[in-house]
Symmetry: C2
Subunit: 349 residues, 2 copies
Amino acid sequence: MKRQDYDLPYLLRYENVAWYEDGQVSILDRRIYPIKKEKVVCRSYSDVTKAIAEMVTQSAGPYTAVGMGMALAAYECRKESSENQINFLKEASYNLANARPTTANRMSLITEKSFEIGKEAILKGENPIEAIRLDTIDSLNRRYSTMENVAKYLVNLLSSDSAVLTQCYGETIVGMLLRLAKQEKKDLKFYCAETRPYFQGARLTASCCAEMGFDTTVITDNMVAWLLENEKVDIFTSAADTITENGYVTNKIGTYQIAILCEKFNVPYYVTGLPDIGKKDRDSIVIEMRDPEQMLKFLDIKITDKNVKGIYPSFDITPPELIKGIITDKGIFKPEELSGYLKNPTKFY
Amino acid sequence: MKRQDYDLPYLLRYENVAWYEDGQVSILDRRIYPIKKEKVVCRSYSDVTKAIAEMVTQSAGPYTAVGMGMALAAYECRKESSENQINFLKEASYNLANARPTTANRMSLITEKSFEIGKEAILKGENPIEAIRLDTIDSLNRRYSTMENVAKYLVNLLSSDSAVLTQCYGETIVGMLLRLAKQEKKDLKFYCAETRPYFQGARLTASCCAEMGFDTTVITDNMVAWLLENEKVDIFTSAADTITENGYVTNKIGTYQIAILCEKFNVPYYVTGLPDIGKKDRDSIVIEMRDPEQMLKFLDIKITDKNVKGIYPSFDITPPELIKGIITDKGIFKPEELSGYLKNPTKFY
């Protein structure tokens, strides 16, 4: 398959997500982009796990990073016996998948596939490093291609001058939405909620939208109600970290309250992504509580005084009643009607 | 009157708000506190105007700063003829009051009073500088004392273990609430919304609450819905930059959406402050649109990429239907029943 990252903004090109080469994985440090364009170089799969846990990359970035991390694991154990290599890869698969609890489900689908690819290569006497690396790129191509299908349905919802409110950084879907809208010459206007504490909206989504030539305005997270009341906003859209089979959506902290505000102002909220098979309902979602020190700081500057505490839920859960539609690669579903999708789901990772 | 800033946190003590002495006004730089404790030294009233416009101080800080600025204006023109001194003070009164558009109404009440005090002293051959300075301290005492009365009604609403959500930095009311709650040994828990873009909640309100010994947790502005759903929050309270006669409340950007979210989660929102006589309805409110560059930065670090725009409404307007009560010095009024207060209002500035 042709590489699917053509004509996409800098952040979406494969080498700038996570990339294995010559015994190391380079991961673009999304915590600081675009203030600085730096890559974190990982020389072991444990470094990759650590980088994911520390949110060097986020959104869909970790899915690429764990695949490339599996290639690196294969490199690390290349001089061992076949049995030891397979055991090492099995362990790497588990550790990489569990770098962050909320997404362990999806991550393990990727690392287990990489494991199987690596194991097969080892047993056949082929190069497991290259096999895993190529398979990861294949996965990227399939994911980008699947998300392009999702983006088609989203772009169809938009008129030639729609104003779109975004939250956090939806990565692939953002890139595909922008590429398609540009191809179709839709003159979209983007409002990007900055998305504290890491400002992914201000730094990542807004950078992509502006790089692709669209009118792009960042708002602080507390301007949403003001924006919806005072400016024309046609649609709110976000990606999802989890979509349960019954239509609950886990996404970056802040999504839930934007959805509530959109309901108040009659702006429809569309989620993009594929339902997570096996995640039955909201009880199956684990919300990762991160170290509060991380949200009391920005760029290593501590904002608060001594004795002030923080709290840091990474994600929140939006219930189906606040969601107008879930946009999948096979069309748009009401959140309570995902069973229609689940009869014939796409397994894109 | 005894100085009313006893037993208050650092930020509320008069010398740490704005203070005239020996031909200069020192204003605590609230943009950077508590990261750094720095004061901006103004050697002309125009410097004070500039400092207010640049938000060196905010909330009630400007009310003190303009009074002290008027004392400084009197110092600047001290060698002129009486007529010239009076003209200079008149001009200073106008310029100081209009440093920021949204609060010009309240500010001019203060500067006009300072003007009259100064003029009277000049015509009597007395020292206008000291007269204005002492009158400004008197005003501070009266305001603190009035806000202590407001705080009594607020504290009465709280049980011994209430959890209180705050927005931005209400200054005097925050100090008085904390002093009274401490006196009454109420073991309050505070959640402070960080309040982008200047983080007044994280830096100022949270510092005061923690300094006074209360359990204090900062949340980012996008965690409000999560907090209200997952933690015990008994009340949301904020001060106001304007309260119209028919119950519309202007306050720091973000207040409106917290009020909407509180309605959703059945948490009552109480506004503290005195209605603005003459501000009939929401049409009489001017929302200051500030330079967007200011919200695309933090501590002079530009967060966004080139070609990304920002938007920066300083305030938003919360309608009466989202407000459970407006807490004044004469009791708690429903926002649509402020006429009861306005029959016999307190003029505290």
